[in-house]
């Protein structure tokens, strides 16, 4: 993974010093709350209902074991011994004090971590595919490009006060595990007719109150032109994006109001001017790529027979393998998901003790690296198949071997009314109730891949509009009600869910999920997946049954 040189390290340390002084001036009354707000946000600090919340960036989801141990340490020292991983592969601490944040950031800076780009109306932390570099169908590893974008976008002086936040995601496969169509800019590494690799560029995707899928603004961009094209889009957006209404300030609205073809004309006209100035030379591309070369995989790893043997001997292990382990591009290696969706615990939460164990396991079994996924799980990306049983036993001992990846229990859920100042309704307790009702794993396996996403307000942090089943909390005269959508997807076949009907009171939400699944099981054709069934039959059969009684 990328290692800071003196330039990178100095910038992060100077950032800590800058923020320490800003915090001091705020506490001394020299900065107003309004003046301090964007400054703290651009270091990841939110002020929530109970306490501040600190979001730390994990660039494209990649962490070293050393970083994970440091995360565990700061969460013990400054918080309550657990952290929460987000859908943009960052992590959050829920209980730090405002005064301690400069110290937390100083400690994280010693392991090349920070809260930069994790909030505020700037270019946010760039995200990617959690299987980058290890999946067989990849055109090219997106991570060096993510790092190049990270450096270009970090403290970009022109784009620190954009109309609204700006998110970029990069993938190198046809499959989309990073929800790129729901980003302000989505970048797909593709090959053109001449066989050259470049980027397909999408613009104007986003969730929140007005979910919109990104559209292709340029079908093929040469790799050396990446930064100039991004800068052109950002400059057009910075000048044109609406600043009168924060709900209409994202680039998705700019594109909708002006039309894609007009935006494309403006971007291309801007690009002509800056293309030469920002061309990426081969030296820089090679410099960054050297940090993402393949590790020394052992050819003998594929000779192992214990992996298949242990699956026949231990049904629980076999279940975990089937659900949580996926193929690696190198024979003899596997990718193991560590589910952060243990039933009855808030989705995405992990304790400091668990983090220490994960760091040890990464050192022992997976080249010392840990990844975070868009679905709020962790993974070890380079495990020899012969080591999987030993790994599984250790994970099991820590409550980290829940075999539920991609099942209905692998829910995405925002912090909701329990933590968040914006929320209208709770979400974590609902996830818990759903898990309590569906505690039979075999039933979940039989249902197949179902993505439930629960957001506590229309800002949609859990991406409910692209959930196979989306659940959105709304406030009705002080009571919590929930709006269901069906048939959304954030993947390559991305679509926005369709509204099932009027909102449902809180105490009927779990029953509604039960009803939806009953209808699915009746209409399902053999092993058809939930999303496929909804797309085939439409939402009417579901709607009729859910609203039949009233």
């Amino acid at each position: 993974m990328y290692q800071y040189d003196n330039y990178d390290q100095t910038m992060v340390e100077q950032r800590v010093a800058q923020y320490r002084d800003q915090t001091r001036r705020f506490l001394a009354g020299e900065l107003t709350e309004e003046q301090f707000r964007p400054l703290r946000l651009m270091n990841g600090l939110y002020i929530q209902i109970h306490a501040p919340m600190l979001r730390i960036a994990v660039p494209y989801g990649l962490m070293s074991s050393k970083q994970v141990r440091k995360i565990a340490e700061v969460s013990r020292k400054y918080d309550r011994g657990y952290v929460h991983f987000t859908t943009r592969t960052n992590f959050q601490m829920n209980w730090p004090t405002l005064e301690s944040v400069p110290d937390i950031l100083a400690e994280l800076a010693t392991v090349q971590m920070h809260g930069i780009q994790s909030s505020g109306n700037c270019i946010r932390n760039t995200t990617s595919d959690q299987l980058a570099g290890v999946s067989a169908d990849e055109i090219e590893d997106p991570r060096p490009w993510c790092e190049i974008i990270r450096q270009w976008s970090t403290f970009h002086p022109e784009f620190a006060y954009l109309p609204r936040k700006f998110k970029i995601a990069v993938i190198g496969t046809k499959e989309d595990r990073a929800a790129t169509k729901l980003h302000d800019i989505g970048l797909h590494l593709v090959k053109n007719h001449e066989g050259e690799t470049g980027f397909e560029v999408l613009v104007g995707g986003g969730l929140g109150r007005t979910p919109i899928l990104g559209q292709v603004i340029r079908p093929f961009l040469e790799k050396k032109d990446l930064l100039s094209y991004l800068e052109a889009i950002l400059r057009v957006y910075n000048r044109l994006g609406r600043r009168d209404n924060k709900y209409k300030a994202r680039i998705k609205i700019t594109v909708r109001e002006h039309g894609l073809s007009h935006i494309r004309e403006l971007v291309e006209a801007e690009w002509v001017h800056i293309r030469k100035q920002l061309v990426l030379d081969d030296k820089e591309i090679a410099r960054v790529k050297q940090y993402f070369t393949e590790p020394a995989y052992e050819a003998t790893a594929a000779n192992d027979v214990s992996f298949s043997q242990m699956q026949t001997e231990d049904a629980a292990f076999a279940r975990w393998v089937k659900q949580n382990v996926v193929d690696h591009k190198v024979a003899g290696y596997k990718i193991a998901y560590i589910s952060l969706k243990a039933p009855l615990l808030p989705p995405g939460d992990v304790t400091s003790e668990q983090l220490d164990v994960v760091a040890d396991l990464a050192d022992e079994f997976s080249m010392g690296e840990i990844r975070a996924s868009h679905n709020q799980n962790l993974l070890l990306s380079d495990v020899k198949q012969g080591d999987l049983y030993a790994l599984w036993l250790r994970l099991q001992a820590e409550g980290l071997a829940t075999a539920n990846i991609n099942t209905m229990a692998d829910m995405i859920c925002c912090p909701g009314l329990d933590f968040c100042g914006l929320a209208n309704a709770t979400s974590i307790p609902l996830a818990k109730e759903i898990n309590e009702r569906f505690d039979d794993l075999d039933y979940l396996y039989d249902l197949g891949d179902i993505k439930i996403k629960i957001s506590g307000c229309m800002n949609g942090c859990a991406h409910q509009s692209v959930g196979h089943i989306g659940i959105l909390g709304v406030d009705k005269k002080g009571e919590e009600w929930y709006q269901f959508t069906l048939g959304g997807s954030s993947e390559a076949d991305a679509s926005l869910g369709e509204r099932l009907g009027r909102a449902i009171p809180k105490d009927e939400v779990v029953d509604t999920v039960v009803t939806l699944l009953e209808v699915f099981k009746e209409l399902r054709y053999e092993d058809e997946l939930f999303l496929a069934t909804v797309r085939r039959v439409g939402i009417d059969p579901f709607k009729e049954r859910v609203y039949a009684d009233n």
């Binding site: 040189d5 330039y7 100095t10 910038m11 100077q14 950032r15 800058q18 800003q22 020299e30 900065l31 003046q35 964007p38 400054l39 109306n121 450096q151 270009w152 970090t154 403290f155 970009h156 002086p157 022109e158 784009f159 620190a160 006060y161 954009l162 109309p163 400059r235 910075n238 000048r239 600043r243 001017h273 800056i274 100035q277 920002l278 990426l280 030379d281 820089e284 410099r287």
Partner: protein, 159 residues
């Protein structure tokens, strides 16, 4: 009044003329509207002339006139309104404007670094009492990854 210019505190004698105010001798700035409406009269102004722009003004329209101005004032109605950062970049990079570019309005210490990197070289602080302390902000960072008005080569070509 005092302003920060090229990193030091200096006395400033520019007069920012309202659209309704009568023309006077001396160094004056006018809005883009007044410039466009009274172009001929203002072109004959004996002393230095400056132009005031907000983020919603049509920057490109005044590019042919840039040689007439020894000062461009960029107005920040709120420090969170970042449009004029792009104006500053364009004025320096694309239109090769070498005169003074000044930030006016909600101009605070914590934005000075980005403003200076974008090409702004003088600052009327919203709170002049903080001017002395604000000078430190120009040294918040010793390097930038990007192509900036102060460093035309991005860091990756200098590493």
């Amino acid at each position: 009044m005092q302003i920060i210019k090229n990193g030091v505190i200096v006395e400033d004698h520019w007069l920012h003329l309202d659209d309704e105010a009568a023309l006077v001798d001396g160094k004056i700035t006018v809005s883009i509207n007044r410039w466009q409406e009274q172009h001929d009269t203002l072109s004959k102004h004996k002393d230095d002339l400056g132009l005031r722009l907000t983020g919603s003004d049509p920057l490109e329209e005044i590019v042919p006139d840039l040689a007439s101005f020894s000062l461009i004032v960029l107005i920040f109605p709120a420090f969170t309104d970042g449009r004029c950062y792009s104006f500053a970049r364009l004025l320096r990079d694309r239109y090769h404007y070498t005169g003074e570019i000044r930030a006016q309005g909600d101009v605070l210490q914590d934005q000075l670094f980005y403003m200076s990197q974008s090409g702004i070289n003088s600052f009327e602080l919203a709170n002049p009492a903080q001017m002395e302390n604000a000078l430190a902000a120009f040294n918040d960072f010793s390097e930038s990854y990007q192509t900036t008005a102060l460093k035309p080569e991005p860091l990756y070509r200098r590493r």
